[in-house]
C-alpha cells in the first residue's frame, strides 16, 4: 500500500473535461511556437508529452501583463466607479516546480503587508497541478535555489511522469479533494513509486548549471560600490525588458489612466527596472547609467528581497539566460563576484 495515486495519461483529457466544468483549465500550449499557459480548448491533449517549461511564466495568470483596475464615469453626483472583479477559478495543469515556487515568492509581495485585490482572488481560487520536469534546459539552475525540478510543495497536486502514467502526490487538502472525486485515479503500486523516484533523481541530476548561494547577500553587499565590476558586467545589456517580463518572480508594474471627457479606466501593466526611464523623475534619474540598473536587478533578487522577506527572489528557471537577446547570464555574474 502506498500513499500515492496514479492516472493514465490517456485519461487526463477526461479528467480535465470534468474539472473544466468548475474551473477554467490552463495547459502549457504552443501558440506560434511560443510556449505559454493557455486556456485548454477542451480536446487536444498533445501537451501532455511536452517535457519542458513555458516561455511566458505562470505569474501571467495571476499578475497579467495588463489588467484593468477599475472604470469610472463622472456623473452629476460625482464619480461612479466600477471594479471588475476577477473571481474566475483557474486550474493550471502542468505548472513546473520553479514557477510554482515563484508564486509563493510573489505572495510575499502581494499578500503580506498589502493585500492586492487583483492578485489575491485569482491566487486563492486557483488550483495548481504541478508536473515534474523530465529534461531541464541547460539554462535551468533551480537546484541551486532549493527547488527540485521534479518535486514541489507549492502545488496542490504533484505529478511525475512514469511512462504511460503520471504518479500523483496529494500535497494540499484542496488537491486531495479534487482527485477524491476523480474516477480515473487509481492507487499507485510500490513499483510505480520506485519508478517515480528514479525519474525524479534523474531530472535532478540533469540540472547542470549551478550557482553558490552561500552568503550571496553579503557578497553582493560588499561589492555594491565596485563600479568597475558592475560596468563590466552591464556592458552588453541592451536594457530591453525581456528578463524582467519573463522572470516568474519579477513584479514591477506601471499604472496608467486613460480617460476621455467623462469616462475612463485605470490600467496596471508590467514595467521593468531595466528600462532607462524606470526611475526617471522630473528632477533626476538615479539610475540613468545602465550599470546601476543591472546592479539593482541582481541585488534586488539576491540581496534586498532576502533581506526583506527571507528568500532569494529567483527560482532558477533560466528564462533570463535563454531568452536574453545578448545571452547575459546572471549565473556568470554571481559566480564572478569580487571579494
Amino acid at each position: 500500500m502506498t500513499n500515492s495515486k496514479k492516472i493514465n495519461k490517456k485519461d487526463i483529457g477526461g479528467l480535465l473535461k470534468e474539472w473544466s466544468q468548475e474551473f477554467t483549465v490552463f495547459i502549457p500550449w504552443r501558440e506560434s511556437g511560443v510556449a505559454m499557459l493557455d486556456k485548454w480548448d477542451g480536446t487536444d491533449t498533445g501537451f501532455i508529452d511536452w517535457y519542458r517549461n513555458t516561455v511566458k511564466p505562470a505569474k501571467a495568470n495571476f499578475f497579467p501583463p495588463m489588467e484593468e483596475m477599475f472604470r469610472f464615469q463622472k456623473g452629476r453626483e460625482g464619480y461612479h466607479i466600477e471594479l471588475p472583479l476577477d473571481e474566475h477559478k483557474q486550474l493550471i495543469f502542468g505548472i513546473r516546480p520553479c514557477d510554482a515556487r515563484s508564486l509563493a515568492i510573489l505572495d510575499m509581495t502581494f499578500t503580506e503587508s498589502y493585500q492586492d485585490p487583483y492578485y489575491l482572488p485569482k491566487r486563492n481560487n486557483a488550483v495548481l497541478i504541478g508536473l515534474g520536469c523530465l529534461k531541464p534546459y541547460d539554462s535551468c539552475f533551480c537546484t541551486s535555489l532549493g527547488i527540485s525540478p521534479a518535486e514541489s510543495t507549492d502545488v496542490d497536486l504533484m505529478l511525475t511522469d512514469i511512462g504511460d502514467q503520471f504518479l500523483v502526490k496529494e500535497i494540499t487538502q484542496k488537491g486531495k479533494e479534487l482527485i477524491a472525486r476523480a474516477s480515473q485515479v487509481e492507487e499507485a503500486t510500490e513499483a510505480d513509486e520506485a519508478r517515480a523516484k528514479e525519474v525524479r533523481k534523474a531530472a535532478y541530476g540533469k540540472v547542470t548549471r549551478r550557482i553558490d548561494t552561500k552568503a550571496i547577500s553579503e557578497k553582493l553587499l560588499s561589492c555594491f560600490d565596485n563600479q568597475d565590476y558592475w560596468e563590466k558586467v552591464a556592458a552588453k545589456c541592451i536594457s530591453c525588458g525581456i528578463c524582467t517580463f519573463l522572470c516568474p518572480t519579477c513584479y514591477c508594474f506601471d499604472i496608467n489612466d486613460e480617460l476621455v471627457k467623462r469616462q475612463g479606466a485605470r490600467f496596471r501593466s508590467w514595467d521593468s527596472c531595466a528600462f532607462p526611464i524606470y526611475t526617471k523623475m522630473p528632477m533626476e534619474n538615479p539610475r540613468v547609467e545602465k550599470w546601476r540598473r543591472v546592479r539593482q536587478r541582481v541585488c534586488h533578487k539576491f540581496e534586498f528581497y532576502p533581506m526583506n522577506f527571507g528568500t532569494i527572489a529567483c527560482t532558477g528557471c533560466g528564462r533570463c539566460i535563454r531568452l536574453c537577446p545578448v545571452n547575459w547570464d546572471i549565473t556568470q555574474t554571481l559566480d564572478k563576484l569580487p571579494g
Partner: protein, 185 residues
C-alpha cells in the same frame, strides 16, 4: 473638461459645437480594453446617418490660409473636417496620422504648399516622402490607403480647398467607418 497631461492634447475640444456624439463611447467588456474613444464630434443629420470624420493637418502659410479664404469667400464644404494648424506639412510625423486613425478618425488629410513654394524651402518635399511611405506601408498592414490623403493647396486656392475636402469626404463615405482599432464585442 479634459485633464491636461493625461489626455493626448493634440486636439482641443471645441465646446461650442452643440452636437450629440456620432459614436457611442463604449467601454469594452473584455479586461484591459477600451473601445476607442472618439474626441471629435460631428453634427448629426436628422436621419442619424453616419458621417465620416476627417482630420486635416494644414500648413500655416499656405493651406490653412487657403482654408480661411474658402471660409471668407463663403465656399461651402462639408463640415466633416477638423483642422489642426501646423507650421509646415513637413511637421507632420506619420505618428500623428496613425494616432488619428487610432482615435477613430476615418481619414487624415495633410495639406501643404506647392513644391517650390514652401515657406521653409524644403518642408513639403519631406512631407511628400513621408506620406508616400506611410500610405504604402499602411496599405501593407491592411489599412486602406485612401484613408490617408494629401494635397497641395496654396493660400489663394480657397476653391481648391473646398473641392479637396468635398472629394475626400465622398471617398471616405464610400470606404466606410474606421473600425480598425475597435475591439470585437
Amino acid at each position: 473638461m479634459t485633464r491636461r497631461g493625461t489626455v493626448s492634447p493634440i486636439i482641443r475640444m471645441s465646446t461650442n459645437i452643440a452636437t450629440t456624439p456620432a459614436y457611442m463611447v463604449e467601454l469594452g467588456s473584455s479586461i484591459g480594453s477600451i473601445y476607442i474613444l472618439d474626441l471629435a464630434e460631428v453634427r448629426v443629420k436628422q436621419e442619424s446617418e453616419w458621417e465620416p470624420k476627417l482630420l486635416g493637418f494644414l500648413c500655416k502659410w499656405c493651406s490653412y490660409a487657403g482654408a480661411d479664404l474658402a471660409g471668407t469667400s463663403r465656399k461651402k464644404y462639408p463640415a466633416n473636417i477638423r483642422i489642426i494648424k501646423v507650421p509646415c506639412s513637413g511637421r507632420v510625423d506619420p505618428l500623428f496620422i496613425l494616432k488619428a486613425l487610432r482615435l477613430g478618425f476615418d481619414g487624415v488629410l495633410v495639406s501643404g504648399c506647392h513644391p517650390g513654394e514652401c515657406h521653409y524651402q524644403t518642408g513639403n518635399y519631406r512631407a511628400r516622402r513621408r506620406i508616400a511611405i506611410t500610405k504604402k506601408f499602411l496599405e501593407y498592414m491592411g489599412i486602406d490607403p485612401q484613408r490617408i490623403q494629401a494635397s497641395w493647396v496654396s493660400a489663394s486656392e480657397g476653391g481648391k480647398f473646398a473641392e479637396v475636402v468635398a472629394e475626400v469626404t465622398k471617398e471616405l463615405k464610400e470606404i466606410g467607418a474606421n473600425q480598425l482599432f475597435a475591439d470585437e464585442k
